[in-house]
Amino acid sequence: MTLNGHLFFHSKMKSKILGHNTNWQKFVRSHTLYAWLLIAPAALFLILIVGWPLVETVRLSFTDAGLGGEKYIGWQNFEKLFKSRKYPGIVGRTFYWMFLSVSLKMILGLIGALLLNVKLRGRTTFRVLVMPPWIVPMAIGCIGWLWLYNGHFGIISGVLMHLGLLDGPFSFLAYKTSAFYSTVVTDVWIGTPMVTIFFLAAMQGVPQDLYEAAYVDGASRWYRFRRITIPQIMPVIVTMALLSSIWTFNSFEIIWILTEGGPRGATTTMIIDTYKMAIANYKFGYGATRALMVVILLTVFSLIYLLLLNKVNEKFKIK
């Protein structure tokens, strides 16, 4: 029964049983009021904690707010930002960081879900064991990686030295390139479990008779994966990719704990840059401009993603 059907049924029953006529219009309207009343606390709370700060960020970005007060300065912050020679590098790095990390999360999540979906002994245990990076506080997980990346005593450097791939101790977070990829690996580690679990659930939702029919027709395992599993779980893949991109773009803790954006800015993403400018340097106005850029670029990215998705769906006639 649809919701409208329910309301109709409802009002008819009520008038029948209570023996008076209820105005259907009035009834729906009172429902609307009641529905909004239930939502109001959450809506007001979020308007206060997220909505107002967002508006305030826009306002601040046109001021020179700092520790000593603020005044309106028009577009100066934006001009300064666009003229800054470092900023394009930070933006590019952020997108590269996000692209790398999200792709790896998707690939590893898919592989993990496939492995955990096979009927093997111990499957239930593996499914539980995959969760810890997701549920443990990010800061704690990062401390573990801080230890792994340690040059003198960390296991990664140690194993590579044993294998003869490294001549001496190598501190992964001390050099620009290795620090960048190290933060990506840690971010992938934290994000993969969730992707795995959601892909796994999607795979379990694929109707079994599709596989049976393909099997009877002699389709190979690879063919069944390519032609049944992937198309069937595609909606979950594209949703996860978008959500994961947004979270990765906004990721703060991992980089901050591992490198604080260093060495020499090698891991400074837009979020880290914003935090440094606003909180560490007390440049609230200029920091707000940078924060606003994060919001704008993320919104544009999401819109383009959804638009492209629509185009692709139309082209391939996916519902």
Binding site: I140, A202, I246, V295
Partner: protein, 279 residues
């Protein structure tokens, strides 16, 4: 249908082992580090096993950082309050979205989910001002108020999917019997929704426990209110980093959330994925 032969099975187990190694290696290494005395930790090259391992660090941590117990308590307390605050907003709205058709439903739901676009890190400056205005800075509220806000949208989404599955007829008959709407929500819907409420509450708790770092380091300077993810860095001293103790404290600090997870993991995994995959 297409069974795996023994050779393929061995390959699959190897692949699972590699995957699991990636997932669990940091925890394993943290545990190994926590067993070694500090001076032996700094031994190059890396050694897998040595005979000087002990649980000494697990008793030392409480001496090195006397407030450690307080930090862990703060983390659990903050996560609990965050969850309660969050659920008190989530329950009525999720019910409203699950049951009623009304003007602005789609748009408002979209706006709620849009909150996921903004990280706390982007809104720190205005949030700081806001919390200062309310006098929340350097109190627990400085952490659980913004913490709860960013968990509300996901909570609504998950609980809505669950509530939609509860048959509407029960509410109808209660309504016809003359029950008030509030009574229906409290006495008819919520008791039926208990499993879903548990899933959403546990997911919120885990999220609240996991994401305490940013708001703690930015909005709170008082050590007595510090949660573990911020307080743990006290093991990094001016001269030395007490790695073994830091690892021991980290592992002790994740016990609360691991216990909750292990008890409820079956419902959690099922509920999270079912709720989220419905659309």
């Amino acid at each position: 249908m297409g069974r795996f032969n023994i050779f393929q099975k061995i390959l699959l187990y190897i692949a699972i082992a590699v995957f699991m190694t990636f997932i669990l290696l940091p925890f394993f290494e943290m545990f190994m580090a926590s067993l070694r005395p500090l001076e032996h930790l700094f031994r190059s090259p890396y050694q897998f096993w040595s005979d000087d391992m002990s649980l000494q660090a697990y008793s030392d941590i409480w001496v090195t950082v006397p407030m450690l117990g307080r930090y862990i308590f703060n983390s659990v307390f903050l996560a609990t309050v965050t969850t309660m605050l969050c659920m008190s907003f989530v329950i009525p709205s999720a019910y409203s979205y699950a049951r009623f058709s009304f003007k602005g439903k789609r748009i408002s739901l979209g706006l709620f989910l849009g909150v996921n676009m903004f990280a706390g890190a982007v809104l720190l400056i205005p949030l700081y001002k806001l919390l200062r205005t309310f006098g929340f800075l350097n109190t627990y509220a400085a952490m659980f108020v913004p913490g709860a806000a960013f968990l509300v949208p996901t909570g609504i989404w998950l609980l809505k999917a669950y509530l939609e599955k509860i048959p509407i007829e029960l509410e109808e008959s209660a309504y016809i019997d003359g029950a008030s709407r509030m009574y229906i929500l409290r006495r008819v819907v919520l008791p039926l929704a208990v499993p879903g409420l548990i899933v959403v509450a546990v997911a919120t708790f885990i999220g609240a426990y996991a994401q305490q770092f940013l708001f703690a380091i930015t909005f709170n300077q008082k050590r007595e209110f510090m949660p573990l993810p911020a307080g743990i860095f006290e093991f990094i001293g001016y001269q030395t980093v007490k790695w073994n103790q830091m690892m021991a404290a980290s592992l002790v600090g994740i016990i609360p959330v691991l216990v909750i997870f292990l008890f409820l993991q079956k419902y959690l995994v099922e509920g999270l994925t079912k709720g989220a995959l419905k659309q």
